[in-house]
Amino acid sequence: MKTKSKNIKYTVFWPTVFLAPFCIFFFLFNFFPILYSFYMSFLDWNGYSTKTFIGLDNYVSIFTKDTVFWKSMWNTVRIGIVGFPISIILGLLLANLLSNLKKFRNTLQTVNFLPYITTPVAIGMIFTFIFEQHVGILNRLIEACGGKAINFLGSAKYAPFAIAFMIIWKCTGYYMAMYLAGITSISEDIYEAARIDGANGVQMFFQITVPLLRSVTSFVVITSAIYALQLFDEPNLLFTNQSSSTVGGPSQSCLTMVWNFYNQAFGGNPRMGYASALSCVLFLIIVVVSLVGLKLMNRKEED
């Protein structure tokens, strides 16, 4: 009898106590809002007047009429595909270099992590100053070297790359920290054995470090894919700091999916219902990408 009551205590009561706060908070502040957004996606509503139920109309227009949606998707993918792989690879290389270092390791690690802790608002301003056409530092440098100033922020050709560069600058240090943590947990014996077998640094990097960091890599790749699909701060801050604030940058080349959603919901002409539908589509995309990533991650772990 006593064991049974104890069992209930440890299989029902205490797990509930420890897990309930998370589940309740998650439901209240994450899940319920998404459900509510889902409900709103069937409405035509501007935020204050009466709501009209319009069924699937919002979704139909997203997929058939809304060219801006598809453009924003392409923009997001383009910026993400340039920015994140480069910053992940750079982070890995940097971590590898630092892990071999005896002196200055801590200092360099902190220095390279600094961009990640800088407030996005500051990053937006500083990069505006760097890329600006007439007085920007980069263009003054180009001119000093005899080149011609480039309108980085005014042309649809260069602006997405400016954002990708911001991402690389900001995130490399974060990935470096993740990989550095992974490398620290690899046993020194493995490297020692490889060294005795006559392996050089490059071989050790590709044969030992990279394969053993697989779990870190899959974690980093999945989380950065989710982050990339939600890109908002960097492009928004880069293009709303100037006196002439434009939605989406030059010819909307930097309008990401979340910025488009934000603009529909809270811009000059709010369309809450339509924006909710946009957010639900975005949610679905993120879930699909995550599930595919998770599948790959699990398969790798079973190997």
Partner: protein, 273 residues
Amino acid sequence: MSIKNIKKAVLAVILAVISFVSLIPFWLMFSMSTYKSEMIFQNNPLIPSNFFSENLKTIFASNFVQSYGNSLLVSLVSTVVGVLVCAMVGYGMNAYNFRLKKALGNFVIMTMMVPSQIGIIGYMIEMRVVNLNNTLWPMMFTWFASGFGAYWMISFVKGALPMELVESARIDGANEIQIFGKIVIPCIRPGLLTLCLLIFLWAWNNYMIPLVFINKQDNYTIPIFVKSLASAYRTDYGAQLAGLFLATIPLLILFICGSKSFIKGLTAGAVKG
């Protein structure tokens, strides 16, 4: 010069260049904040000027102090509650066997995938209905159930907490709350510290949620305060940057002091994660 020395020199140059690129924008933030806005581009902005104290006066004359306090309050409450809730999940998922354990584990992984920005319209209306939309609460609530933190704490506790210790405490008659406070928390301290640093950082730098929720000066957080300096009759870049520079200081101190334990905490999480 031997090949080994050349290799070392090349390595040093590469590291120096990368670190330089990392530092330049950071340095620019400081050095530009020492200029009068109109003068920033007349000189070489890499060399500091003498207008820093004037810029400080400008921001202190508006409600910088209150915004700073708001940011601190929001970030601290978010961090404390968020980390505690995640640590509880970490212990709960490792210390007991219960029926829905596997389902809950998958649920936590799913929560990590659910982006908080997606439901922001529903969240805004929810907050309006419970009359909290004009307070600082909406900016804190989003960190109370951090999917990343929970997932991460589960793998951290698995690696860092010896279950024999918990078992023997149970035999000694300690209840679960005591065990959690006296044994679990000290065992997972490095992981807690790292998670604290990350959630504090994310809450402090959060931009979109304050942008949507804040509509009165009393509730400004730093990012919104700095943006508000731009909507005046002229954009005071110097003052904006001075504010941002001061806003970076707490993070700078936290991460410089915590850099060793930060990596240590990440390491223990990475072994499993």
